[in-house]
């Protein structure tokens, strides 16, 4: 399949092996090379766009992050390490991302576990319910949470009546609201790869465990759970890496009281035009995200991870 695009080169090699002096071998080899170059040249438009709008500009921003007042300086990175406000932002980002990831795992695992066992049509309905939010704009979903969690929504007035709270903004414009909104966005990213992983589980193993006398709970913990670890890790990585880069949900449901890294990057540009500070924070975010992804790809296999992103 790999040389499928150019039939000629392998034949040339066979030719050379059999009779090295074949008269047209050189011409065939040359055509094979031209052919391969032609195929690779199809990557040029995509490569040019990536180079012009992503690779060069990010490199440029990296350079800017090392400049202050016209000379090289690490002051932008120092600020991230030493300033209280930056530490708070990093801490908030990591804390919210960890909480969101844990909730997604705890709630998502039973869902994927049950969906993987349900008969076809029922599983399809369940999967559709997981996929539909995936398709709806994040702004629409955030708006829905603004209604549901707000002071005039169905939940808070009820809690007030029952006497559990007297705070109309118990669930909105704070970390709680941000976390609820983010879990709603991220949950499909946990369930879908795990579901794909569990679907291929060989249920005979559970019968084998049962026939050896294992009670269902211990069969689950000692056979099923260990075999689904790759799926869990794929989901955890996807959720965490995306969570630390979140912008829209915390910006709207946090109501200005929750600042995550992405929001600080944006405000550094939009309010202060401080490219160096924004870039340094962006570089830190990129390094954290990419090192987690690379590590995860090494540990659980790239296909498991990439094959499942939308």
């Amino acid at each position: 399949m790999s040389t499928a695009g150019s039939l000629i080169p392998p034949r040339t090699q066979q030719h050379q092996a059999a009779e090295p002096a074949a008269p047209n071998a050189v011409a065939l080899a040359r055509q094979g090379r031209r052919d391969r170059l032609l195929v690779l040249s199809l990557l040029l438009p995509a490569g040019a766009l990536l180079l012009a709008l992503l690779i060069i500009p990010v490199g440029w921003l990296f350079y800017l992050s090392l400049i202050e007042g016209g000379e090289y300086s690490l002051v932008h990175y120092e600020r991230i390490w030493t300033m209280r406000s930056y530490q708070n932002i990093l801490w908030t980002t990591v804390k919210i991302s960890v909480i969101v990831t844990v909730i997604c795992a705890v709630v998502g695992y039973p869902t994927a576990y049950l969906l993987a066992q349900l008969p076809g049509p029922l599983a399809a309905v369940g999967l559709a319910m997981v996929m539909i939010p995936f398709w709806i704009s994040i702004l629409v979903r955030t708006y829905a949470w603004l209604i549901l969690l707000g002071a005039r929504g169905p939940i808070v007035p009820f809690l007030q009546q029952v006497g559990l709270t007297d705070n109309p903004f118990l669930l909105l414009y704070n970390e709680t609201g941000t976390i609820i909104g983010m879990v709603h966005v991220m949950l499909p990213f946990f369930i879908l790869p795990l579901y794909a992983n569990l679907r291929s589980f060989d249920w005979n193993l559970m019968h084998a465990a049962a026939s050896m006398g294992a009670p269902p709970t211990s069969a689950f913990f000692r056979v099923f759970l260990p075999m689904s670890l790759a799926g869990i890790w794929a989901g955890v990585v996807l959720v965490f890496v995306q969570s630390i880069g979140f912008y829209v949900t915390p910006a709207l449901l946090g109501g200005g009281r929750v600042t995550m890294v992405s929001m600080k990057i944006a405000s550094n540009i939009q309010e202060y035009f401080d490219w160096g500070a924004a870039s340094a924070l962006g570089v830190v975010l990129l390094l954290i995200a990419s090192s987690i992804l690379i590590l995860a790809a090494r540990l659980i296999g790239g296909g498991q991870l990439w094959g499942t992103t939308r």
Partner: protein, 266 residues
């Protein structure tokens, strides 16, 4: 269900309840927006105290929202037209190249999915400021195309994997040019995945928020940017009316893709 005879249904009922609650958590919020869009109150009261169409007429009568709708649809259509051919070319090259090159090229093409969007946003913004093209339609389209190309490539590559390239070679050995073989033999057979990819590209542009917040303002303020600002600064049910339209449109697009996939797998 085969292992159910080990644990009785009732002992597993908590599992069913947890999963049902989770699925409802996922799906219900989306349908909260629809009744609010028909509300007659300007507050985000749920359930709405009364019903009216005033937020739909507010949307239709607002010149700003109409301009944004037009800008979004234009950007999405152009993004689809730019990203689809570029992504198809990339997918074809990755599918045909030697594995070593293919893996490298695939990794590079997928970069926009890996780099946090906020970083892409400020990187693109920086270039556009230097070139003085911020807020122009072509620059919005190229920024959106950057984000759509990896998705197009993944989708078309999946189509190419199930296509037998030998057919294209047969056509070429019978005298078809490389381009001719692609257009008359390969393309018709991977057409569903290409259409699917084009729809994804359209949806990517229509959905994009963060990059648009930086590069799609002024006359070309796209819908998502205007919605974001409205949700942040002054929430009115006008946004609910627009959201309802978006929900219906998204479900139609999703249905279309599902239909296409089913036809492909047949």
């Amino acid at each position: 269900m085969r292992d159910l005879h080990h644990i009785s249904f009732w002992r597993r009922s908590w599992l069913f309840l947890v999963v049902l609650a989770t699925l409802l958590f996922l799906i219900l919020p989306i349908f909260v927006v629809i009744p609010v869009s028909f509300s007659d109150s300007q507050y985000l009261t749920f359930p709405p105290p009364g019903y009216s169409l005033r937020w739909y007429s507010a949307f239709i009568e607002s010149r700003e929202w109409q301009a944004s709708l037009r800008a979004s649809l234009t950007a999405a259509t152009l993004t689809m037209l730019v990203a689809t051919p570029i992504g198809v070319m990339a997918a074809y090259a990755i599918n045909s190249a030697a594995p070593r090159w293919a893996r490298l090229a695939y990794g590079v093409v997928l970069l926009p999915l890996i780099v946090p969007h906020i970083l892409i946003a400020i990187a693109v913004f920086y270039v556009y400021i230097k070139l003085r093209v911020v807020n122009s339609m072509p620059s919005i389209v190229f920024a959106h195309a950057l984000l759509a190309i990896p998705i197009v490539t993944i989708t078309v590559l999946a189509g190419l994997k199930s296509f037998d390239m030998k057919q294209e070679m047969v056509a070429r050995s019978l005298g078809a040019s490389r381009l001719g073989a692609f257009f008359f033999v390969t393309l018709p057979q991977i057409a569903p995945s290409v259409v699917c990819a084009a729809v994804f590209a359209f949806a990517t542009s229509l959905d994009e928020v963060i990059v648009s917040l930086f590069v799609a303002g002024g006359e070309n303020t796209v819908l998502t940017r205007r919605m974001f600002v409205a949700l942040r600064d002054a929430i009115t049910p006008t946004v609910a009316a627009i959201s309802t339209i978006i929900i219906v449109a998204s479900l139609i697009i999703a249905g279309l893709i599902l239909l296409l996939n089913r036809r492909t797998s047949r």
